[in-house]
Assembly symmetry: C2
Homo-oligomer: 359 residues x 2
């Protein structure tokens, strides 16, 4: 009884906006119902545009909503309906220049659909990913976009069991369990090599990324397939650069010790190409006169180097926005039919490969 009375007073205070410091009180669905003279169910119906509602009634409700400046409470909705309007983006490191643009793509379409994006940096460490996933599950996240590399088959299956829609980027064979988005890594690599050949290169090296990554692997494969029939081809033309700037720099030096006559380098990603450019500069090798250089990814950094870097550009922003679109569709339709999207890449020829074609 006592409780009731206290609650009653609390309510009165709420309604009258008596709250000391002028704190704003958010109207609830009940307030709206009362003001409109209908039940909360009816308000809920007009809110969610489901079920039948008389036009007149709807108008009354809408008016009440406007009058009270009512906004439905997303948390309560989440609890009741199991949908929070939140998706998570798990990526290795937002500070890696490849990911911000992709994140932007995700965020833009999420925003457009009324979703909110939670950002997670995994550093490609399995335990971080798992702890994120735990946390995201607790928060009733609606779905996850995975741009990270350490996602295991087991995790995917677990997500499935938890009914959490999943879209992964740049991952291989998990195919039948969730939608996958990637771009033409193999074809892109071939494109890069062909371009170097067309620019007159006659001994082309490759700096490759971590072979656990399907992208790095495919690009290496594309290189190999493109050059293995040449007489100059030899395995020592392929050196690792770990997808990092310093790796590219080191790799290029290693390369030139063994093969001072290299006249073209295809780097597995742009960061390594930037490192390679640096390394070549330090070696006194001119780009593109002595060596033509091309990267992969198409990140913005390739435009600020001197010379500007040729690259095989992936549609990074689109990969993100498509991922979000696919995920949200999965969430909203409930259809879990996994699909594979392979996006096209494009050769971007800039100064770093602009040499005279030799006969």
């Amino acid at each position: 009884m006592m409780i009731r009375i206290i609650c009653f007073f609390a309510k009165i205070c709420n309604r009258l906006h008596i709250k000391g410091d002028g704190e704003e009180i958010m109207a609830t669905i009940r307030d709206v119902a009362k003001l409109a003279g209908v039940s909360v169910a009816t308000v809920s119906r007009v809110l969610n545009k489901n079920g039948y509602v008389n036009n007149k009634t709807e108008e009354k409700v809408l008016k009440a909503i406007a009058q009270l400046n009512y906004e439905p409470n997303a948390v309560a909705r989440g609890l009741a309906g199991k949908q929070t309007g939140t998706i998570a983006l798990i990526l290795p490191d937002i500070a890696n220049p490849f990911f911000p643009e992709m994140a932007r793509g995700v965020e833009d379409v999420a925003q457009a659909y009324g979703y909110t994006v939670i950002l997670c940096n995994s550093d490609d460490q399995g335990h971080k990913e798992k702890s994120y996933i735990e946390m995201l599950k607790k928060k009733y996240i609606d779905g996850i976009i995975f741009a990270s590399n350490t996602l295991g088959q087991a995790d995917v299956e677990q997500m499935r069991r938890n009914n959490i829609p999943l879209v992964v980027l740049d991952r291989a064979p998990t195919r039948q369990l969730c939608s996958v988005i990637r771009s033409q890594n193999y074809e892109g690599a071939r494109l890069a090599v062909r371009h170097l050949l067309e620019m007159g290169c006659r001994k082309i090296a490759h700096i490759y990324g971590p072979q656990e990554l399907i992208t790095a692997k495919k690009r290496l494969l594309g290189y190999e397939e493109s050059v293995k029939h040449f007489p100059w081809y030899t395995p020592s033309l392929m050196v690792p650069g770990h997808f990092r700037v310093d790796g590219g720099l080191r790799a290029v030096k290693e390369l030139f010790e063994k093969h001072p006559d290299i006249d073209g380098i295809f780097c597995g990603n742009d960061l390594m190409a930037i490192g390679a450019l640096k390394g070549l500069y330090q070696l006194g090798v001119r780009v593109p006169e002595d060596v033509a250089l091309i990267g992969f990814d198409g990140i913005g950094l390739t435009e600020i180097t001197q010379p500007e870097l040729s690259t095989v550009a992936q549609p990074i922003y689109e990969m993100g926005s498509l991922a979000a679109k696919v995920l949200i569709e999965t969430i909203e339709t409930g259809v879990t039919e996994p699909r594979l999207y392979e996006l096209e890449v494009a050769l971007v020829a800039r100064d770093s490969t602009k040499r005279r074609t030799e006969a």
Copy 2:
């Protein structure tokens, strides 16, 4: 009655994990209570480590929790307790190279404190910010970090009324209403100019950013104060570059039309410095031999140009991590005493200013 029966069966199914496709069922606090033979209140107490709980009882509860693999549901917690363990980071554009590192700083400490970060790109457009804030309010966000520029006094006050803790980065006078984090923009500018002078420059220009931004303004001011007493000083040595690469490129060309004898340029941020470098290259002006060039911010890009760019480095990552720390403290202690944190900047002298000192 019918309902009860159905629910009853549903519950049984849940408990027995009969759910067709092997979908996982998450244990609830009630399950734990039942298994431990206590009430949910008790479980809640051990969960939140508040209130008295007998050691024995606690053990039982803990065992039940472990046994059921129980994880408290964050959404329900949010509804009941008004705290969701989620903070928002509103910034202009994650694709702007300045922000990823800052975002990383925010995310890292958030993660460490068990919080989750929602990413919002405002593009510095007021309406986007407002719509984000609406959305975030609905979601019971615990606090907001603002690294964006169009936050008005009214918004800050509104946040206050809604009791949403707020930390802003790089903003000026909103001082008494929320905590502010920024770095020494004025001093940094003076540092940059002094460095150019020490390197022997005798006519120094400045490319400045949008004057609506306090940071750009302070840097411009620092420049002016440092050079206005020189005979060569004239207002046309200051041109706008909009904090963008292309702006810097254009600015440098404008500058050289009027003042071909410039031998030093201080750019209000690194992006403009990169553009300036490009422009100078196109003009055939050598850096640093003919012109020494220095930027501001200390973003990673400054290390990949040729020559590498000197810059006044802000502790970008720390700005982010500090912001998160301050925000979370505010959230958890409830203390809203606003503070101002001004972080130190550091001169990073690289090749772009490495010229012989003239007597």
